[in-house]
């Protein structure tokens, strides 16, 4: 990292990355608008991974039902901004509401369960994820709240007055398509989230989380109110999930319980693990990689199979899942700290290996 040690070199690096990020959607849209959408979903996954990283990476609590909070945020947005209840609140009102509701769910789940040992907690969160999904699937009776398996459609996009994020628009001679406009607002929110995460990590709370992760008994002996601090991690992670869910609902315009299955929780977990639990930049890298690589595979493996065998033998979806599984196993076996490990984690694992 000598290259970045010089202050000016560092700022040049930041500027280059900023230019790349600003130019990215136009480069992608020249390949196809589908890729801009993929980039948007990747940003959502980064967002989710950052949220899960607070719970798993910072505080060391394995949450296997994280997608439930994403679902809660998405449904909160969908119910408050769609013809379903004929409510059309603006997005800057709903996103905080979604975060709040998800946060409440986090507290609801965390309060009784956070005193459990790590692996019990994992299973309980997994059960919680399933419970939320089953309720979403069935709460169409007696009052139609979630519209059951059909889901909720025609969800309002983000908009400021008449400026809607779902329409094409020409500003200063440059054509901005809907996905490109979303890209910029998502990117802005993501940068905010990254800053929040970095600040959190080195705050008093962040250090308390780290202490709990390293040794809960010792942390308690040092005067940390472990239950409350763990609950805070849960609630904060859940809020991130809630915001991401709201954004997902707005971008897609349609949500159903199908989008919030266990596999999604595991996918987000894979991103956190692959990148490096506890390291914000590692998690960003993991989420970007696991969002783009499967899509690349979809566009390369499928034609390759057709070319070699004349037909598609393995569906891309299956390849994607097999990759997730392999990534989880191989990472744990050969690089348990992730691609960009956090310094503390590295030390911890080295110590354990002795």
């Amino acid at each position: 990292m000598n290259l970045f040690s010089h202050p000016r070199a560092k700022w040049i690096g930041v500027a280059l990355i900023a230019i790349a990020l600003i130019g990215l959607p136009f480069a992608l849209s020249s390949v196809g608008t589908a890729w801009v959408r993929i980039a948007n979903l990747a940003i959502l996954f980064v967002f989710l991974s950052l949220g899960l990283n607070i719970v798993v990476g910072f505080a060391g609590l394995l949450d296997l039902g994280y997608i439930a909070f994403y679902a809660v945020g998405a449904y909160a947005y969908a119910l408050l901004a769609s013809p379903h209840f004929d409510l059309h609140l603006p997005f800057w009102v709903i996103l905080p509401i979604g975060a709040l509701v998800a946060c409440l769910f986090g507290i609801l789940l965390g309060t009784p369960t956070l005193k459990l040992r790590g692996d019990y907690l994992a299973i309980v969160t997994l059960g919680f994820g399933e419970i939320v999904r089953i309720f979403l699937n069935n709460l169409s009776q007696p009052i139609n709240i979630t519209n059951g398996p059909q889901g909720i459609s025609r969800i309002d996009p983000f908009s400021f007055g008449s400026f809607s994020f779902s329409q094409n628009e020409t500003i200063g001679g440059i054509m901005f398509s809907g996905p490109i406009k979303y890209y910029y607002i998502l990117l802005a929110l993501l940068l905010l989230a990254i800053v929040v995460n970095l600040r959190l990590q080195h705050s008093r709370i962040g250090r308390a989380w780290e202490a709990i992760r390293e040794d809960e008994v010792a942390a308690r002996a040092m005067g940390i109110d472990t239950t409350r601090i763990k609950l805070l991690a849960f609630a904060m992670g859940a809020s991130f999930g809630g915001i991401a869910g709201g954004m997902f609902a707005a971008i897609q315009g349609f949500i159903s319980p199908e989008s919030f299955v266990l596999v999604e929780s595991i996918m987000v977990l894979s991103m956190v693990v692959l990148g490096g639990m506890g390291n914000v930049w590692g998690v960003v890298l993991g989420a970007v990689l696991l969002s783009f690589v499967p899509e690349l595979l979809r566009y390369t493996v499928e034609p390759l199979q057709k070319y070699i065998f004349g037909r598609s033998i393995i569906e891309p979806e299956v390849i994607r899942m097999l990759l997730f599984g392999l990534a989880l196993v191989l990472m744990m076996l050969y690089r348990p700290a992730g691609l960009l490990p956090s310094a503390v984690r590295k030390r911890e694992l080295a110590k354990d290996a002795e």
Binding site: I123, V217, L328
Partner: protein
């Protein structure tokens, strides 16, 4: 028809399957404190292998019992092999690593097994061929089928056999010693690695039989049947007190009965606001409730935090 008795019978059937699967979880947990997340997939593989064999033999003139037995006998070694390989490849290298690490590999293994099964057997479920004649018995206004009786009897026999194995044989003593303290057990001349492998193999064999039973009961087997079943069985193991054999058996049966009764009565109790489609919620509600009020389960011992 007596709904109560009927639901108890149905619950007992499923509950004994849960108990058998739960034994696999509880043995592995007891010995290396790992939630073997992929155990449910072993159950699924057992069902798939057995159904393939049964399907292939269904056209022949062999008696149905022989066909089913052939299926079970094919499934058991296949599952044992998977169980052994799983421990060897994914868990053994991580012994002594932070607790989350093997749990995450277990999730990875579970995903891999599920999707490999999907590649091998495709997305569509395998159906159980109509070879077993439907036998029904009437007791007190409820119906019990021949398959249900067979499932309950087989499960209880397997539970008995496992209890004998663990408490009456040398191997069982070694298993219990390892679960109490692996280091000291090693000093006493017990080959820890072998005992752990053996535990996985026994658990996988039980899972294979459980897979055939649950597949036969529902009439189908498919690649994703393992995860929900596994989660419920794990809940059962926790309910009884994880690491405790009798607890897993009790927990499994209790969970099956609670689930069946819940599904049978929830409509009446809530004026049909909630229907039996909430059946799957019960297992998890029970799990959460048990962990909150009695974290060590019904028969488990209180375990303190490890410093």
């Amino acid at each position: 028809m007596d709904i109560f008795l009927q639901q108890v019978i149905n619950g007992l059937t499923l509950g004994s399957v849960y108990a058998i699967v739960a034994l696999g979880y509880t043995m592995v947990y007891g010995i290396i404190q790992l939630i073997n997340f992929a155990h449910g997939e072993v159950v699924m593989l057992g069902a798939m292998v057995a159904f393939s064999v049964i399907g292939a033999l269904a056209g022949t003139t062999l008696p149905p019992l022989v066909i089913v037995l052939a299926g079970v006998l094919a499934a058991i070694p296949a599952c044992m092999l998977v169980g052994y390989a799983m421990e060897r490849v994914a868990y053994r290298p991580l012994r002594g690593a932070p607790r989350l690490a093997p749990l995450i590999t277990a999730i990875g293994i579970s995903i891999i097994l599920q999707h490999v099964a999907m590649l091998v057997w495709s997305r569509s479920p395998l159906a159980f061929p109509q070879i077993i004649p439907l036998v029904r018995f009437y007791i007190g206004g409820a119906i019990i089928t021949g398959v249900q009786i067979a499932i309950i009897l087989t499960s209880f026999m397997m539970m008995g056999a496992l209890t004998l194995l663990v408490y009456r044989t040398k191997l069982g003593i070694a298993m219990r010693a390892t679960s109490q303290n692996p280091h000291v057990a090693g000093l006493m001349g017990i080959d820890i690695d072998r005992i752990i492998s053996f535990t996985f193999i026994v658990g996988a064999a039980l899972a294979a039989v459980a897979g055939v039973m649950v597949g036969t009961y529902y009439g189908i087997a498919h690649y994703s049947m393992g995860s929900l079943l596994g989660m419920k069985a794990f809940s059962a193991a926790v309910l009884g007190g994880i690491g405790n054999l009798a607890g897993a058996m009790l927990g499994g049966i209790l969970l099956g009965v609670v689930e069946a009764l819940g599904a049978g009565y929830i409509g009446d109790l809530t004026n049909n606001v909630f229907g039996s489609n909430y059946q799957d919620v019960f297992a998890f509600m029970v799990l959460i409730a048990v962990l909150v009020f009695r974290p060590s389960g019904l028969l488990g011992e209180r375990v303190g935090d490890r410093a």
